[in-house]
Every structure is written in structure tokens, then in C-alpha cells.
Amino acid sequence: MVGLIGKKVGMTQVFEKNGRVVPVTVIEAGPCKIVQVRTPEKDGYNAVQLGFGSRPAKRIPKPEMGHLKKSDAGTLRVLREFRFDDGAFEAGQTLDVTQFEAGQRVDVVGTSIGKGFQGVVKRHKFHGGDEAHGCKTKRMPGSVGASAYPNRVIKGKRLPGRMGGERVTAKNLLVVGVDAENSLLIVRGAVPGAENGFVLVRKAVAPRRAS
């Protein structure tokens, strides 16, 4: 199995047979066209470039259009590379959700929801100051360093700034169900990013040992 590009549909919950509620995220995963195959001989490693979604032809840069035409893949929206260990793939082939099965662990990569410029309490989980008793440091970062020595703020000091909107990987999510008919993948728990955002699904790279 290689992986897939998908779209986050949203979250809901399902019931286990004993009535236990499982929170799940539904991902519309694939079908993905293989646009290009990377080989050890030519590129030094094994990978496939997958494409997903669609966009108007006039929105595709001409060089990219030429690249897509080589594999006759159509007007794809997102192109991403996935490494694989074994198996043979050919450009033009289509991959779908059937490569996943319920009970398996996967990693889901997405772009987290952008939070804008945030303070230190939200961004770095600082505790903040006292909220009452005349305290004036409610959500302030406090001291950012020493004085004459080193006479500067140390690099990497956690300060306010842009938060979210970055690549996040949710690891070891349990596949609860696969709906091949609608190309849906149902995983337990939350997945990074907003609804309708693009996500990459791949086999868990560091699965927990069987428990």
C-alpha cells in the first residue's frame, strides 16, 4: 500500500456493537491517478507521484499541463509524492481506498487551521498571570530574558506570533471503516485542518506495538 490524497469531509460519531461511541473523521480519499513513477535507477528511490481533485485547465500552469499530459492524468488539483517499498506501479494507473482496511493504523497529514497572530498563552500554553487581586500580567509573556549579559533575547524564545496554518501529522489513527463505493475512509479521532482541506493518508510510519 502506498497512500492517498484526500479531502476532509468532516467529523461525526459511530457506535460500536456494545453501544460505545467512537468519534470519527470522514475523509474522501482518492481515487488518485499515478502521474509519475520514481525509480531507484533514475531518481535514487521508489515513489509514485499521485494526483487528486480537479481544476479548470486554464488554471493549470503550462509546464505543469505538459507534465500531466505525459501520463494522460487529466486536470488534477494536487500532486504529491508517496514513497513505497515493494510493488510495481505504472503512470496512468488509479489507486483507491481499497488499499486500506478497517483495523489498520494510518498517519494523516494536513494543514492546521490558521489562528492568526496569537499571544503566548494560546500559542505556547503559558500559564499567564493572575486574573484578579490587582494583577496586571493577565496574559502577558513575562520576562523574556536576563539583563546586561547576554544583552539579547535567546534564539527560539517562545513569543507571540503566527499560529496554525502549518503542516501537521496525526499519527497512528485507527481506520474504523472503508467505504469503497463512495471512496470514503473513516478514521478514529480528529485530523488536522479545516473541512474540505486536503490531507495525505499513508500507512503509519511508527505504529504502536500490538497491545
Binding site: V9, T12, Q13, K17, D179
Partner: protein
């Protein structure tokens, strides 16, 4: 959203029972005791229905030994095996939380008047 509904459809209760706040219902709950599974009954007044889709729940209130007892059931949970409508109530609001402060006759919900007597 359409796709979400497709996922939920598989878990939705097949025979939806139509009941509203104020109605008296009998809820059959599956209880697992050790290895045995048996059905427990909980009869009372529906005082709340909330949520949509698979996350919908309803609250049933009854007076047990002089003490008010409320249970919240997930509407589509497989452990709720059956919901029976015992009596329809006539109420003018969706949430009957005001029943909590009432005792005796004041805590009763009027039964729904049936449409036009034939006479």
C-alpha cells in the same frame, strides 16, 4: 455534508419512533452483566430532545421512590434496543426542565387530547 450523511446512515436507528417532549416512553436498554445480557426498562416522561444525526439524544425523567431520576439516552445507540410510546403528552414547550422543581400533581404532563370526538 452529503457524504457525512452516507456514513451516518448505516448507524441510524432503522425504525424511528416518533415521540416528542412531554410523551411518556418505555425505553428498553441492553445491560451486560458479566457475560449475560439482559434488557432493562426505563419508563418516564421525555423532557428533552437534542441534536441531529447520530449524535441525537433524549432525556427521560421519572420519579422513583419519591426521588426524581433522569437518564440521557443516545437516540441511535444500539444499546437502546427499543423505544415504546406509552402516552402522548400535551405541552407547549420543547424543553420541560420546569418539571424538575415540581412535585406531585404539578409535575404531571397533561395527556394529549385526541382529535374531535365523534359525537
Amino acid at each position: 455534508m452529503e457524504l457525512l450523511k452516507k456514513v451516518e446512515a448505516k448507524h441510524l436507528r432503522e425504525a424511528e419512533v416518533a415521540f416528542r417532549p412531554g410523551d411518556t416512553v418505555k425505553v428498553h436498554v441492553k445491560v451486560v452483566e458479566g457475560e449475560k445480557e439482559r434488557t432493562q426498562l426505563f419508563q418516564g416522561t421525555v423532557i428533552n430532545r437534542r441534536g441531529s444525526g447520530l449524535g441525537a439524544t433524549f432525556t427521560v425523567r421519572k420519579i422513583s421512590g419519591g426521588i426524581g431520576v433522569e437518564r440521557i439516552f443516545p437516540l441511535h445507540s444500539p444499546s437502546v434496543s427499543k423505544i415504546e410510546l406509552v402516552k402522548e403528552g400535551q405541552v407547549s414547550r420543547a424543553k420541560l426542565f420546569y418539571l424538575r422543581g415540581k412535585k406531585g400533581k404539578a409535575a404531571k404532563v397533561a395527556e394529549k387530547r385526541r382529535e374531535g370526538p365523534s359525537s
